[in-house]
Amino acid sequence: MPVVDVDPDELRYLTGHDEKDDDELKSDLFNLGLEFEGWTEDDEFQLEFAPDRLDRLSVEGVARSLRYHYGDDRGVDIPNTNSADWTIEVEDQPDERPYVTGAIVRGLDMDEAALESLIQLQEKLHATMGRKRAKGAIGVHDLTMLKGNSVTDETGKSITYTSADPDEATFVPLDADAEMTPSEVMASHETGQTYGDLVADFDRVPAIYDAIGLFSFPPVINGRRTEVSVDSRDLFIEMTGTDQWTIDHMCNIVCYALAARGGQVEKVDVSYADDAPGEYAGKTLERPDFSVRTKTVTHDRIESILGVSLDSREVIDYAERAGLDATETESDDGMAYEVEVPPYRVDVIHPLDIIDDIGRALGFNSLEPTYPDVSTVGGRHERSRLEDAARDALVGLGFEDLLNFHMTNEVENFERMGLGPDTTGGDVVGQTDPVTIQEPYSEDYTILRTWALPSIMMVLENNTHRSYPQDLAEIGLAAGLDDSENTGVAEHRTVAAALARTDASYEDAKARLQALADAFDKNLETPPTTHPSFIGGRAAEVVLDGESVGVIGEIHPKVLVEHDLELPVAAFEFRLDALE
C-alpha cells in the first residue's frame, strides 16, 4: 500500500487548523483511512493508505481531504486556469510512448517544504499510476530557463515532444556536469541505469526540445538547465506516457497540489502532428483538463447498498462532504442524482464508487449490523469429506497427521528419493513431470510436489532429535503435468504414511494399509514391484479394487542415509480417490 510522508506542521498550515495537536491529526487521518505508521527521521508522519485515493500522495492532497472531512470545504472545487500561451508540439515521437500532456503553474513562492512535497508527489505518482514510469512519467521544469520556439500564430511559444537518436543527441542531465548522449546516460548515469530499460529497445528515444535544444529525456531524466529550485516561481510540467488519460490525470493531481500552494494554473496546448502516432493525430488538446465527470446514481441503489433510508437532502449533503456535487434528477429507475466528480479523482470509475463515498461520509461504523434474511443449506464438498474420513482413519491407526508445503524442489522431490529428474526413470509413483515455477527466487521452492513421501522424509530428517517411534502421515495435494486437463495440470490428493521405528517392517506398513482399505471397504492386493525409493524385494504396488493406485515398501537404505536417518522406515503412498 502507498506510504506518504507528511509534515504535521504543513498539514496544520494547509488545513488552517493550527489548534489540532499531533494526536488529533492522527485520529482524524485514521478516520479518513490514512493510518499512522510511524515518524520519519525528519519528524514527519508516515501515513499508509489503500491505493485508490492517489490524490492523497502529497501533503496538499491530504490537507484537502481533511478540509472536506472537517466540513471546511464542500462540493467540487475547480482551480482557475489562464488560457494557453505555450504549446507542446508533438511530432515524430516514439510509437511506444506516443502521449504527452502538460501545464504551467506561475507565481509560486516555494520553500524547502513545498519543494520536497512536490518531489515526493512526483515519486509517488511514478510508483503508482505511472507504473514505475512505464505508463506515465513526470518532468517539472523551471519555465524561465525555457526558450520557446515561435509558433504559427507568432505570439505563442512552444516546446517539442519528439524522438532523438540515442547516440547523437546531447544534453547535460541532472546530477552530471558534462554533456551526455541518451545512450551514455543509460549506460553510466545512476538514474539512467535505473530507468533506461524502459526505452532501451527503442530505435529512437523520447526527447523534448526547446529553442535552445534537448532539455529532457523522458521517462529517464531531465536536463540540468531547467532544474527546479526553491527560487523557481514559474513551472512547466510535462508528462509522457503510454496512455493519455493516465498522464492527464497525473497532471491534474500535480496541478491541484501546486494550486493549493498558491500557484496560478495556466493551460498548455498539446498539438499532435497530423502524422503523429497514437490516437490523437491532428488533434490539439487543451491541458490540464479540469472538466468534471458526471455519473448518475439511483436513490434506490444507494439505499440498497447502504441498507438505510435516506432523503435526497441527506444524500446531497453526504456527497458534498465527500467533495462531490450532486443534483436530484429522474432516471428510468426512479429518483436519481447527477453527481459531479472532480478531475483529481482517478478512483471513481463507476456509480458504485459514489455510493462508497456517500457511505464513508455517513460513517459505515454507525450502521447497525443485520443478519441477512435468506436461508441456505450448507455442506462439505465430497472430496473434503473423504479426505477427513481417511485422515481420521490414519489418526486412529496411530499416525501423527502432518501438513507440508505443496511447493518443493527437484532435489527433494526426486533426487534425494533416488528418482531421476524426469519420467525417463519409468512409470513409478512420484515420477511425473512436475509443474514448475517461473523464475523462482528460492531454490527451495521451484516445483509443485508430485508425491508426498519426500515431504514426510524431510520431516523425519528434521526431527531425528525427537522421540521414536515417529509414525507420520499426510493427506494433501500432489500434482503433475497433464495435457488432457484444461489447466494442463493433473491435481490429486495423495495419502502418504511412514513408520519410523527401530523395528519398522514391510508387514507393519501393510497391516495399517490393510486396516485403511478395510475401513473403506476396498479390496487390497500388493503384487511385487520395483521402485527406486524402496528396497528391492520389499516393495509392492498398492492395488485397490483391482486398480493400481500407489506403492508400499521399506524405504531404501540409501534414501535413509541421505536423510540422516539411523533406523528403518516402512511407508506407503496412494491416491485418495481410490477410497471413494
Binding site: F364, S375, D388, R391, L403, F405
Partner: protein, 503 residues
C-alpha cells in the same frame, strides 16, 4: 475365612493381650512395613484388630556427635591436658595446656566454655586450673552420647540429651509408631481358622470365566509411579482449526467449493477486475508457472465480457480501466494467490452450473504468495473465503454475517474500516478484539463485489465476500508466534505432539 496374605500374617502375629508394634509384626511376617500397616488398617475396618498410635522421640547422632563418642569430648581432652600440666596444683599458662591437648579451631572455644560449666576447673586471666575432684570419666553428656550410640536411649539422662541437642551432637525427630492388638472378633476369627487368599499380578480371561477372581487378591501396584510416554495419532493443529472453521460455516448455511490450485490468471485476476498492469500482478507477488505456461481453454463469451469490463466498464457511467488488456496474459498459468478464483469459477456457472440466489459458498484451502518467509508469512497458507449471493444485500448484511462468524471464535467488537480492493465496493478491512490480549487486530478483508466483476459472470444480484488467513486465525486464537513451527517440513514434532487440541 479367606483373607489376603498380608492380613492373615498380621492377624497371626498380633497378640490379644498387648499391643505389638506393626514394625515388629511386619518383620515377623516378612512383610514390608507399609504393607503390614495397610493390612492392619483393613483388619481394623473389619473390627478384627485395634490399631493404636504413639509418638516417639527418636535420637540420632550427628556427624559431630558420632566423632565425639568414638573419641572424647573437647572439654575432656582439655581437662586431661590440664591435669598433665599440673593445673590441679595451681594455675598454668593456658596456651601451654591447649597446645598439649591437641585441640584446634572451634573445638578450643567449645572446650573452654564447657570446661567451666562442668566445673572441671576455672579459667582466669589466661591461666587455667583443674578441679582435682572432677570426674570426666562419668560425664553425663558422654554417657548419654554412648547410650544413643548403643541404642539405649532410655538409659540416658534427659537433661544431658537436651544439652547434646543444643550442642548439635544429636538430632531428634518424632516418629509415629503404630501397634496392633487382636480384638475379641479377631480372636474368634483366628479360632475359626483364617486362610491366606492367593494374590495375582494379572487378571486373566480364565479367572473371569471360572469365577476364580472372587477368591483372589490383586497384587498392589504403585499407582503413583510414572508410566511410559505414548505418542498418539493426532490431527494436525491447522487441520483441526480448518475443520472448526468449516463446521462453523456449514452451520451458517455455507457449501464448500473445490477447484484447481494451478489456474489461469483469468480466473485468479481478470475476473476479479484486477487491471493487467496492477502492481500486485507482477512476478514479484505471484507465482507464475513456467510449465504449463497457459491454460488450454477459456470460455470465449466470458473472456469477451471480462475484456469489455476492463476496457469499457459495465452499464452506464462506467469507465473501465485505462490499462492494456490481452487474452494472452489472461491465459497465463499461476499458482492461485487467493481462493477467490474458485468463487469466480462458481459464480460464472462453469463449475457447478448456473447458481440462483440465495447461495452461500466457502472454501478453506491453500493459496500461494511470493512473499518473504518470516514468523507470520508463509509462501503458502490457508485462506478462508466465503461469499453470500442474494437479492439486495447491503453493507449491514455484510457486517451482520461477519460479526456472527467471528463471534464463533471469540473475536468480538468487530470494526469495519473502509478499504479499497479492485474487486469490491464498498470494501472493508475487518478489525476485532483479540480474545486473550484485548488488542484490536486486523482479522480479514471484505466487500460487495463490483458490477464489473459480477456482470461479466452473468450474475445480476448482489454478492458479498470476505477472506482471511486461517493461520492468522490460529495465531489469534492460540497465541502461536512462529507459524513455521507448525506448517511445513521444518515443523517440530514435539510441538505438534504437545499442542492442545482445538475444541
Amino acid at each position: 475365612m479367606k483373607r489376603p496374605q498380608a492380613q492373615v500374617a498380621v492377624l497371626q502375629a498380633a497378640d490379644a493381650q498387648k499391643d505389638r508394634r506393626i514394625d515388629d509384626v511386619a518383620a515377623e511376617a516378612d512383610l514390608k512395613p507399609e504393607a503390614a500397616t495397610r493390612a492392619a488398617f483393613e483388619l481394623e475396618a473389619d473390627g478384627l484388630v485395634s490399631v493404636s498410635e504413639e509418638t516417639l522421640e527418636h535420637y540420632e547422632l550427628t556427624d559431630e556427635g558420632d566423632r565425639y563418642v568414638r573419641e572424647s569430648l573437647p572439654e575432656q581432652d582439655l581437662y586431661e591436658a590440664a591435669i598433665d600440666a599440673g593445673a590441679a596444683d595451681g594455675p598454668v599458662q593456658m596456651g601451654q595446656v591447649i597446645g598439649a591437648s591437641g585441640l584446634e579451631g572451634g573445638a578450643v572455644d567449645i572446650a573452654l566454655s564447657n570446661y567451666a560449666r562442668k566445673a572441671y576447673g576455672s579459667i582466669d586471666s589466661g591461666e587455667i586450673t583443674a578441679n582435682q575432684d572432677a570426674d570426666p570419666g562419668s560425664d553425663p553428656e558422654m554417657l548419654a552420647l554412648e547410650a544413643v550410640a548403643d541404642r539405649r536411649v532410655e538409659d540416658a539422662d534427659t537433661d544431658a540429651l537436651d544439652q547434646l541437642e543444643r550442642r548439635g551432637h544429636l538430632d531428634v525427630r518424632e516418629e509415629t509408631v503404630r501397634s496392633v492388638q487382636l480384638t475379641d472378633d479377631g480372636v474368634t476369627a483366628l479360632m475359626e481358622g483364617v486362610e491366606a487368599a492367593e494374590t495375582v499380578d494379572q487378571l486373566t480371561p480364565e479367572m473371569l470365566t471360572s469365577g476364580e477372581w472372587e477368591d483372589v487378591a490383586f497384587t498392589e501396584y504403585n499407582v503413583e509411579a510414572d508410566a511410559e510416554d505414548v505418542s498418539h495419532g493426532k490431527e494436525h493443529i491447522l487441520r483441526q482449526t480448518a475443520n472448526r472453521v468449516k463446521d462453523t460455516l456449514v452451520g451458517m448455511g455455507f457449501s464448500e467449493m473445490e477447484g484447481p490450485h494451478a489456474d489461469a490468471q483469468f480466473w485468479i485476476n481478470d475476473c476479479l477486475f484486477m487491471p493487467q498492469d496492477h502492481p500486485a500482478r507482477t512476478h514479484w507477488d505471484q507465482f507464475a508457472l513456467e510449465e504449463p505456461e497457459e491454460i488450454g481453454h477459456l470460455p470465449p463469451d466470458l473472456v469477451e465480457r471480462v475484456r469489455s469490463a476492463h476496457k469499457e466498464g459495465v452499464g452506464p457511467d462506467s469507465e473501465g480501466y485505462h490499462s492494456p488488456w490481452t487474452e494472452d496474459i489472461a491465459r497465463g498459468m499461476d499458482l492461485r494467490g487467493h481462493t477467490t478464483s474458485l468463487s469466480m469459477r462458481y459464480l460464472s456457472g462453469h463449475q457447478v452450473g448456473e447458481l440462483d440466489p440465495p447461495e452461500r459458498y466457502f472454501s478453506v484451502e491453500k493459496v500461494y504468495r511470493n512473499d518473504t518467509l518470516d514468523p507470520t508469512h508463509l509462501l503458502e497458507f490457508f485462506q478462508i473465503e466465503g461469499w453470500v449471493m442474494a437479492e439486495d444485500l447491503s453493507v449491514r448484511d455484510l457486517m451482520g454475517t461477519f460479526t456472527e462468524f467471528y463471534e464463533q471464535f471469540g473475536i468480538t467488537d468487530l470494526e469495519f474500516k473502509p478499504h479499497y480492493n479492485p474487486y469490491t465496493e464498498p470494501s472493508f478491512e475487518l478489525f476485532g478484539t483479540h480474545p486473550e490480549t484485548g488488542e484490536v487486530v486486523e482479522v480479514g478483508n471484505s466487500g460487495i463485489f463490483r458490477d464489473e466483476v459480477l456482470t461479466p459472470l452473468g450474475v445480476d444480484c448482489d454478492v458479498m465476500a470476505w477472506g482471511l488467513s486461517l493461520e492468522r486465525l490460529l495465531m489469534l486464537m492460540y497465541g502461536f508466534e512462529d507459524i513455521r513451527d507448525v506448517h511445513g517440513t521444518l515443523c517440530d514434532l514435539e510441538l505438534l505432539r504437545e499442542t492442545e487440541v482445538i475444541r
